[in-house]
Structure formats: structure tokens, C-alpha cells
């Protein structure tokens, strides 16, 4: 079993209505599939994805214990 935490930030957090949640899966899947499994909608085009606070591509496979974050383009500085 693979358990991961999902985090959402900024406008994406507001749209989803929560900032985090936990997910348990039988097998490793890609972060893109994680999004589609949980939200049943395509991932918005410009969404950035981080696993354990490092940027990853959409085809990155999750591991047990991963912290997976989805967020819109960053606008700091």
C-alpha cells in the first residue's frame, strides 16, 4: 500500500476548497494520474507539481510517504 499526502496552494487550494488530504493506493501511479484519480478532471495546463518539495514532471511515479503538491505558477519576488 502507498500512502501519500496531497497539498494545494493559492488559487488551486481555493478552487478545490481544501489545502491538503491523504490518499492510499494499491500501486504506484504517476502524479498526473493521482490528480485525475482524486479530481476526475484534467489537470489545469499550467499547474506545477512538486514531490517532497522538488519539482517533478507529470509522469513522475509516487512512492509511499510522498508529499505531493499541486499549485499554479509562482508569483513571488
Amino acid at each position: 500500500m502507498i500512502t501519500i499526502t496531497l497539498h494545494y496552494f493559492a488559487s488551486l487550494r481555493e478552487q478545490i476548497g481544501r489545502s491538503q488530504e491523504t490518499l492510499t493506493l494499491a500501486d504506484s501511479i504517476t502524479v498526473l494520474d493521482v490528480w485525475q484519480y482524486v479530481h476526475q478532471t484534467p489537470l489545469p495546463d499550467n499547474t506545477l507539481i512538486a514531490v517532497n518539495m522538488e519539482y517533478v514532471e507529470r509522469m513522475h511515479y509516487i512512492c509511499d510517504g510522498d508529499e505531493v503538491a499541486f499549485f499554479p505558477p509562482v508569483t513571488g519576488g
Binding site: 497539498h7 496552494f9 493559492a10 488559487s11 499550467n46 512538486a50 518539495m53 522538488e54 519539482y55 503538491a69 499549485f71 499554479p72 505558477p73 509562482v74 508569483t75 513571488g76 519576488g77
Partner: protein
């Protein structure tokens, strides 16, 4: 190298001076390049009354450290300081400070610019503006190198 994420107003010049007095670099550096980003009261044609800066605690520090480490590989820099505001911000308050110390000027200038561009592209901060109508909106994207 020091990275500070602060949730209340900061004085960029005090931050630089405090940091500089701790450094044992007297007489060793010839160049300091500094960038300060300050909140404007207008953006994309609208008056902006206030701003809230959200960040991804932990990832912010991690990404900023990575950016400084890459800058240190590319240029010969002696010290680097980054201070970034989060929380509620008012116009004319500083948002970000980057200060780089080096022996020669090219290193300080180029590392400072590089770090600022990388921060804008990769550090997980998000701005939500409150307009004069009290309406709020998320800033959609940072300008490229602008």
C-alpha cells in the same frame, strides 16, 4: 548564506547592515549588489490596496537554497542574503531583498540578477491582490525578466 522568510514588515537596509556586521569579511569584498522588490500601489492598470503573500513552507527554503548553491557554482561569491516577505503587505513595503557580496563586480551583479530571476520562476510564493473595489485576485504569472 542566509535565507529569511518574514511575516511582518522589514527594513532592507537594516537587514543588510546586520548581516554585514556579522560577516568576517572586512576588507575582503569589493562589490555588493543588492536588489529590493517593493510593493506598488498599481498593477496591470488597477489600483492595488493590499496584497497577501502565500508560500509553501519548507519548499520555499529548499528552492532558495538550491538557487544560491547553483549561483555559487556559476560565480565566485563570498556571501548571499535573501529576505522574503509573506502574509499581508501594504504598498511601499519591501517584498524581497537579495544582497550578494563578492571580490569583483561582475560576480555580484550577475549572481544577484540570476537569483532574482530564479526566485521569480521557481520559489513557491503566490500573490493575491486586493483592489480599490475590495475585490481580490490572484496574480496569474510573473513577468519574464521584467
Amino acid at each position: 548564506m542566509t535565507i529569511k522568510i518574514v511575516d511582518s514588515v522589514f527594513d532592507p537596509f537594516l537587514e543588510i547592515q546586520d548581516f554585514q556586521t556579522q560577516l568576517a569579511l572586512n576588507g575582503k569584498f569589493g562589490a555588493t549588489s543588492i536588489f529590493i522588490g517593493t510593493m506598488r500601489d498599481f498593477n496591470e492598470g488597477d489600483e492595488v490596496h493590499a496584497m497577501t503573500l502565500e508560500h509553501y513552507e519548507g519548499m520555499t527554503q529548499k528552492q532558495l537554497e538550491k538557487i544560491i548553491t547553483t549561483a555559487k557554482d556559476k560565480w565566485t561569491i563570498l556571501e548571499a542574503l535573501i529576505v522574503h516577505r509573506i502574509g499581508d503587505i501594504l504598498p511601499s513595503e519591501p517584498i524581497v531583498l537579495i544582497a550578494i557580496w563578492s571580490v569583483h563586480r561582475a560576480d555580484a551583479f550577475e549572481a544577484c540578477r540570476y537569483i532574482m530571476e530564479e526566485l521569480k520562476s521557481n520559489a513557491p510564493f503566490w500573490k493575491r491582490e486586493t483592489l480599490s473595489s475590495h475585490q481580490t485576485r490572484w496574480v496569474l504569472k510573473n513577468t519574464g525578466s521584467k
